[in-house]
Amino acid sequence: MSHLILEDVSVDFPIYDGSQRSLRRALAKASIGGTIFRRDQRHVAVRALDGISMALHDGDRVGLIGHNGAGKSTLLRVLAGLFLPTGGRISIDGRVSPLLNLGSIIDHEMTGYENIEHAAVLLEIPARRRRTLAQEIEEFTDLGDFLALPVKTYSAGMQLRLSFALMTAQEPEILLVDEVLGVGDSGFLKKAAARMTEFHQQTSIMVLASHNDTQLYKLCNKAAWLEYGRVVRFGPIDEVLTAYKASCGT
């Protein structure tokens, strides 16, 4: 049994640099991004999440939607336990696998194979899987002999193939995915979608931030619509997506 429980969770990012005098108002609300406010005389902070309460249990596949800067990535990082909320509290139960920033595990100086070994260490992939891992990744990425060359010789799409294959080598109970499939070609996207489906069947909870409706309908059964760090609407995927699209005027 896995769960993710958030009670009145808020996240404020303190800003220590930047010219604070140039902020036009002490309390500003831009059309995108979180709320910028003055914490005290000298410090400015950005409220990225504002009083979020949510309970996710086994079987929940939640799509996160909202415009840029609505707090989707921050919420995923809170769910991953990477940021502890500055207000409210959170209970995480289950092995969390964050698929947030694919580039973070790749070292460009190393070859593909060396990166596979390196990632197996970083992602704490159990020893029994490590032996078959390289083979699995060869099959998935179609990179062939390129795996023996340094990653800096790869194109952006090739790097994406490798990092996606590495990140999805984990065996997650709770899977958190930020929009990560930007530069892949159609062949890769098809494979990635298949992998995601297979992957999401193994997981008990998934949270996916995406702007791709097709992907959301296919992989999610619920959706949370975020705006200015608040949950505007949470419920079945069709309902929330329809309301979101209506508000965007499309």
Partner: protein
């Protein structure tokens, strides 16, 4: 509902992170070796470059300063070599540890790795460099007619102790340095001055008796002495061993408290 909510206090979470990080030794061990391999990739000598550059420095300085200070070179050079090798470990860790969390920024905000691992990986990497330099210094000592003795085996105690002490110190500096960016330059200045104030290029016996208290109250002198003496085949003074032991205990305790109190803020400071 059949599930149990477990809202954990930040201090408790940090406590788990602290010990989980230390226990994942294969992680920081592997990453430390990895860092060295990457750094010397495509070079002819590989990590032996570290040894070569350190040896070149202490041979030249040893010959120069034995002439300046009118010391016997066969006696002075191994002393200088051992001192410099230990000092480069200590000062490299001190100088760079303020940036540990800042430079691991991408990993910290995207992978669930205990934060302590970043610190141990960093100190272990420098320990590996130290071992390369250490080999050069011991070689110089043996070539110039020195002999390793039973006292040399004390290194098996003093080097691990030094590693624990510097890891704790690095953790403290890393936490403070993530929040206050002025720490790194301040440490740089302090360490530069400390190098001249500590008996590394000179010996305690070179200065007048009236000034010797200055060396006795310098903790860095004791830290270096505990490793340097067995490298030269002698036992360190009991006082020096006590200072290192006590310093390690205090720093470990302080590092634990600091880390557990501020662990939950570190990601926000980056």
């Amino acid at each position: 509902m059949s599930f149990q909510k477990n809202f954990k206090h930040p201090f408790l979470l940090a406590h788990h992170d602290f010990f989980k990080g230390i226990r994942s030794w294969s992680l920081w061990f592997g990453l430390g070796i990895h860092d060295i391999r990457i750094r010397y990739k495509r070079t002819l000598l590989g990590p032996l470059w570290i040894t070569a550059s350190q040896a070149a420095t202490f041979i030249c300085m040893g010959m120069l300063f034995s002439a300046v200070l009118k010391n016997d070179v066969t006696d002075y050079l191994p002393y200088l070599a051992a001192g410099m090798v230990i000092w480069s470990f200590v000062s490299a860790v001190a100088n760079e540890s303020a940036q540990i969390f800042t430079s691991a920024h991408h990993v910290i905000t995207s992978l669930r790795i205990p934060l302590v691992v970043h610190v141990l990986r960093f100190v272990f990497r420098h320990l590996l460099v130290f071992f390369h330099n250490f080999a050069a210094a011991v070689a110089a000592f043996l070539i110039l007619g020195g002999h390793l003795t039973a006292a040399s085996s004390f290194l098996l105690v003093s080097v691990p102790l030094l590693f624990i002490m510097m890891s704790s110190a690095a953790l403290i500096v890393a936490v403070v340095g993530a929040r206050f960016r002025d720490i790194a330059p301040v440490i740089g200045i302090v360490m530069q001055l400390t190098f001249f104030m500590t008996p590394i290029m000179w010996r305690t016996s070179d200065i007048p008796n009236a000034s010797k208290w200055w060396v006795t109250i310098n903790p860095w002198h004791h830290v270096i002495e505990v490793v340097r003496a067995p490298m030269l085949g002698t036992m360190p003074a009991p006082l020096s061993v006590e200072v290192l032991l006590f310093g390690t205990l205090v720093l470990v305790a302080l590092a634990y408290v600091m880390f557990c109190s501020f662990r939950h803020r570190i990601a926000y400071w980056l």
